[in-house]
Symmetry: C2
Subunit: 311 residues, 2 copies
Amino acid sequence: MTQLRPLLCGVELGGTKCVCLIGTDPDHILAQAAVATTDPGATLRQIADLLDNWKQAYGPIGAIGIASFGPLDLRSGSPSFGHVTSTVKAGWAGTDVVGHLRRVHRVPVGFNTDVAGAAIAEGRWGLARGLADFAYITVGTGVGVGLVVAGKPVFGCNHTELGHLRVTRAPTDVWPGMCRFHGDCVEGLASGPAIAARAGLPAENIPDESPVWELVAHPLAQLMHALVLATAPRRILVGGGVVQGRPQLLGRVRCLLEESLNGYLDLEQLTGGLERYIVPPGLGALAGPLGALALAADAYIMAQSSRAAVI
Amino acid sequence: MTQLRPLLCGVELGGTKCVCLIGTDPDHILAQAAVATTDPGATLRQIADLLDNWKQAYGPIGAIGIASFGPLDLRSGSPSFGHVTSTVKAGWAGTDVVGHLRRVHRVPVGFNTDVAGAAIAEGRWGLARGLADFAYITVGTGVGVGLVVAGKPVFGCNHTELGHLRVTRAPTDVWPGMCRFHGDCVEGLASGPAIAARAGLPAENIPDESPVWELVAHPLAQLMHALVLATAPRRILVGGGVVQGRPQLLGRVRCLLEESLNGYLDLEQLTGGLERYIVPPGLGALAGPLGALALAADAYIMAQSSRAAVI
């Protein structure tokens, strides 16, 4: 059964802003807009209104995809499915994100973490095309990991939360880190706010030659060490505000990963060379919002196929 | 097409001995024997001879499964598929384990890590039945992890090697560890030889109340922390000589895991309670050799179905 391509809306819920898209794929985006992330009620109302305006302007929406900061409840059948759970983002713990948008728009809603969404988008349209096993890391307001194994984001009793991995420290680094839960986990050391707190100025204003970057590269390399040993991704894409425009940072991460594994694995043979293994995302800064669009596409397909099964 | 149940041989290649089985499943084992692990040529010849004796005694063998210490080359199509690669086990690096047994016995050979095999066996016959996402950890001569995601052992550019995860140290613990590659990775701190080196006597002779166990529990809890955040297994089975008969050690690991995650995830809700989440394997000490039998069963089924496809 051939379907006309439906219009899809992607909503990337971020720590500081929510980026929304309407379109069908990266080459057909009709509009894009951002809504500031304030309290959940006001933010979700603004998003619902924006989508309503787009509906008036462009026609009916086939599905909505929400790619959100976490942790999230993604367990189908759970009474709190579609909720943000224990997030550090003030006021958002327990917010029923999916329910809110579904009640207003009454279309299928896809829901996953921002990083799982971005990983799906990179697998469909970006630099992970054709790969069944890969990882997408964002280093920004937080540190998040989307981990794809055998073609799907992993999901056991929870989604991946590897940004909160505890890591060995650079030998001279005794700064306590700033994760509310773990102090010096990867996010507590390498997120934008952590870098700013340590350096006393915003990450984007810190020059490339500052010794601070070595202390950011170290926990990121430890995260890669864990990833390579855990599911052995075929590629690791690293995006987010902290990494964008800092090619020297990824270069240093590659070196430190090699030092850390210390010849235990033949990285050249397994990865085809670290220069091509640890790379910026193919979709750049759009990986996040396009992730939400990919989740919308999946939700639409799922709804169509269950409808077809009923007919 | 109904098949008579074929006789299968399982070979668990271990660091000190190789345990071999002939049978069809855990309830139908006809014979079991161990061969000391010496140099690869002599060891594999002895195993091939043992299997030959069994063939004379019990009838034709349908398939062989090899569950081996690693790292291994498991990439189908790789020129070194079926080889042990950079192992610390003297003389074994580069050994073509699969080729050796296949040349002698000319039957389908299944091949995976000892821990992936044990995980498959636990999923089929043990305490992970019905679970699509779980982990099997062995703490013995080394520390190995078999990681099952969506029903299959993960395999990206390599198999899991999480025993070599670098971990944060217990606050007072400055012992350098003894992994040849990483010093104080999990294996370098918590394997049997590491415990013996630190304590000055074999792990099995150390009393339960020794403070050494706290320093073993700590890296194991850090490994669990990483696992829960990586693929969020629905259960973690922990076996191997170091853990067997030491229920207080797993108890301490559960406490330290909870302390380490520090409320970031609602472990009670996600795991159903750590007492049922981190448990000894259902197949006990037989998880390893039964893992090899499970690999043999899979290899037999695979060969039958490709034969059916050709017919």
